[in-house]
């Protein structure tokens, strides 16, 4: 498994966002799936996050304009869901499951280990922008607890040692 790093946000992508031809084509492909324009909101936000790295105020305005919604409505939706980044994320976001099955099967030890190793707590990033630690609710892989999702990929049946190997590999690839 090769976890891809997230897109690093630049100043341009955060303020005055314009959709290029590729993006417009992808949006058109999403729109034809639904009878209403509004239904494309979640998929279009996903496309934006993939392209720009996070859902900046500029992205919110651009999406609102493209789909004919108010920026307030789009922001309301963005803030309801946990997976849209409303600030630039690190290259690798370590999403540690903190719910019951993981918690009683080594998840807490994993959090302690990460906190000590990286020197960051939940919600924080390492100074070099490589890793960000996030505590999340049940990831739906309880049989292979403890579980961490790094960007889009699941890492299961982890121990501190296995996790070290994963992190060293990711850090080495940069």
């Amino acid at each position: 498994m090769t976890t891809r790093p997230l897109v690093v946000a630049t100043q341009e992508t955060t303020s005055d966002v314009k959709f290029d031809k590729t993006m417009e084509d992808r949006i058109a492909d999403v729109l034809r799936r639904y009878p209403t324009t509004r239904a494309a909101l979640l998929p279009v936000l996903w496309l934006c996050q993939e392209r720009f790295g996070w859902i900046s105020p500029g992205v919110i305005s651009a999406v609102a304009e493209r789909l004919g919604e108010s920026a307030a409505f789009v922001e309301g939706v963005v803030s309801f869901y946990t997976m849209y980044y409303t600030s630039p994320p690190a290259r690798y976001v370590l999403q540690v499951c903190t719910t019951l099955s993981c918690s009683v099967c080594g998840g807490r030890e994993l959090v302690d280990h990460l906190t000590a190793k990286l020197g960051i707590g939940f919600g924080e990033k390492t100074p070099d922008g490589s890793f960000q630690l996030v505590g999340v609710q049940c990831l739906g892989a309880c049989g292979n607890a403890p579980v961490i999702q790094i960007n889009d990929d699941y890492y299961e049946d982890l121990t501190p040692k296995k996790l070290d190997a994963v992190l060293d590999d990711l850090k080495g690839r940069r």
């Binding site: 799936r33 639904y34 009878p35 209403t36 509004r38 239904a39 494309a40 909101l41 979640l42 998929p43 936000l45 996903w46 309301g76 939706v77 309801f80 869901y81 946990t82 997976m83 849209y84 903190t98 719910t99 019951l100 099955s101 918690s103 009683v104 099967c105 999340v136 609710q137 049940c138 990831l139 739906g140 892989a141 309880c142 049989g143 292979n144 607890a145 999702q149 889009d152 990929d153 699941y154």
Partner: protein, 437 residues
């Protein structure tokens, strides 16, 4: 029993349509197209299939609620927003046998005469959303989906729609709102989705596992399906076992096995030779059961008789090393985080419970805490909220307080109480500010 839903697990290349077709795949779809929608609904009604997502509502009946004379479009939605703590069965089905789900969606769509189906999958399941999209592409290339399927005159499109991280979107009306591009706020019912669903049209929402059962009912018949399990609780069921067992994982067993058999025989017993203390029978929203209740049958009716629920079949096993106050605290935090915020009893109640349990876990419990927890839970359950999330946190929390009260009391006896904060209220004697014109 011979595996039905998990028959492809371990078969090389099980995800490809070639493997699926070689194993008799899409035969149920062909048979359904020949039978016609009404006969398909009847077959599923006769099989007594009950929804595997948590509520256990008879699937055939849900389909039959769609108004027959409705002129406009109707929709089928496959609920793959698997987020209930302790549940990981849908992921297992999609990982090994996505075409089983696609075939089930096709048959169900045909039964309710829907030409568009959506698979709402939780945002975290990127890998499994891709697997489903590939499977849809394969089926479309073979003419099993798309326009005029197999010359029947029936059109069907299936789209994968990713959520974005919200437990509540597993509730069917919240899912519908989210699919429409809004915040996932559950709707007040009635009207039920079968009448007014997504985009205001009749909609049926079925769980992945429920839909995966449908092709087998079509190929092997309702009588075969009903012969597994016991009356009203028929068919194979996937049990997801996690927590302190030797072999956690997804097990396919007939409804009606006992929890003892699941834990001791299939999962190799409690880990490290420890003793069973408690278990959640159907995800963390189901009231907890003690070690003495391990002989209860794992099916919808037996669990309801035992004042709990089979839910999604997510069995979370806890050994005697766990602290029930910490477990309650963990669960309270989950629901406090996931409450959508519409209804006061759920939004405030789950937060208050988490605060109280945090304080208890930190060693500052008060004698009144267990009763306060029970009171908050009582005001949040049994119809006090729009959707069942109010019950989903209140019922397990109150069951933990009731069944393990001694443990809660012991924590309080050892506690160092903090001084209770009170707002300073002074008697006002002068003229009332702002009103003394």
């Amino acid at each position: 029993m011979e595996p039905v839903l998990l028959r492809a697990r371990g078969v090389p290349g099980s995800r490809s349509i070639a493997t699926y077709l070689a194993a008799g795949g899409y035969e149920g779809w062909k048979r359904a197209l020949g039978l016609g929608p009404d006969a398909v609904v009847k077959e599923v009604l006769d099989s007594e299939l009950r929804g595997r997502g948590g509520a256990g509502f008879p699937t055939g009946r849900k389909w039959s609620f769609v108004p027959k004379d409705h002129p406009g479009p109707r929709y089928l939605v496959c609920n793959a927003d698997e987020s209930e703590p302790g549940t990981f069965k849908d992921r297992e089905i999609i990982e090994h046998d996505p075409h089983q789900v696609i075939e089930g969606i096709a048959i169900a769509s045909f039964a309710i005469k829907a030409n568009t189906a959506y698979i709402y999958i939780r945002g975290e399941f990127v890998r499994w959303a891709t697997i489903l999209e590939e499977a849809i592409g394969e089926a479309r290339a073979k003419g099993l989906l798309g326009t005029n399927v197999l010359g029947s005159g029936f059109d069907l499109d299936i789209w994968v729609h990713r959520g974005a991280g919200a437990y509540i979107c597993g509730e069917e009306t919240a899912l519908i709102e989210s699919l429409e591009g809004k915040r996932g706020f559950p709707r007040l019912k009635p009207p039920f989705p079968a009448v007014v669903g997504v985009f205001g049209k009749p909609t049926v929402v079925n769980n992945v596992e429920t839909l995966a059962c449908v092709p087998h009912i079509m190929t092997r018949g309702a009588a075969w399906f009903a012969s597994i399990g016991r009356p009203r609780n028929t068919g194979p069921k996937l049990f997801c076992v996690s927590g302190h067992v030797n072999r956690p994982g997804v097990y396919e067993l007939p409804l009606g096995v006992t929890f003892r058999e699941i834990i001791e025989e299939h999962c190799g017993g409690v880990r490290g030779g420890r003793k069973l203390k408690a278990f959640f029978p159907g995800g963390s929203s189901a009231p907890v059961m003690t070690a003495d209740e391990v002989d209860v049958k794992a099916d919808f009716d037996a669990c309801a008789e035992a004042q709990t629920m089979l839910g999604s079949g997510g069995v979370i096993v806890l050994d005697d090393s766990v602290d029930m106050v910490a477990v309650a605290d963990n669960i309270a935090h989950f629901y406090a985080h996931e409450s959508c915020g519409q209804c006061t009893p759920c939004r405030e109640g789950s937060d208050w419970c988490a605060d109280i349990l945090d304080r208890m876990a930190a060693g500052h419990g008060r004698a009144s805490d267990p009763d306060t927890l029970l009171r908050i839970c009582r005001f949040s359950s049994e119809g006090m909220t729009i959707c069942p999330l109010g019950d989903a946190y209140a019922l397990p929390l109150s069951s933990m307080v009731n069944k393990f009260r001694a443990e809660f009391e012991r924590r309080i006896a050892d506690a160092t109480p903090l001084p209770q904060k009170r707002l300073p209220v002074l008697p006002w004697t002068g003229p009332r500010p702002g009103f003394g014109i």
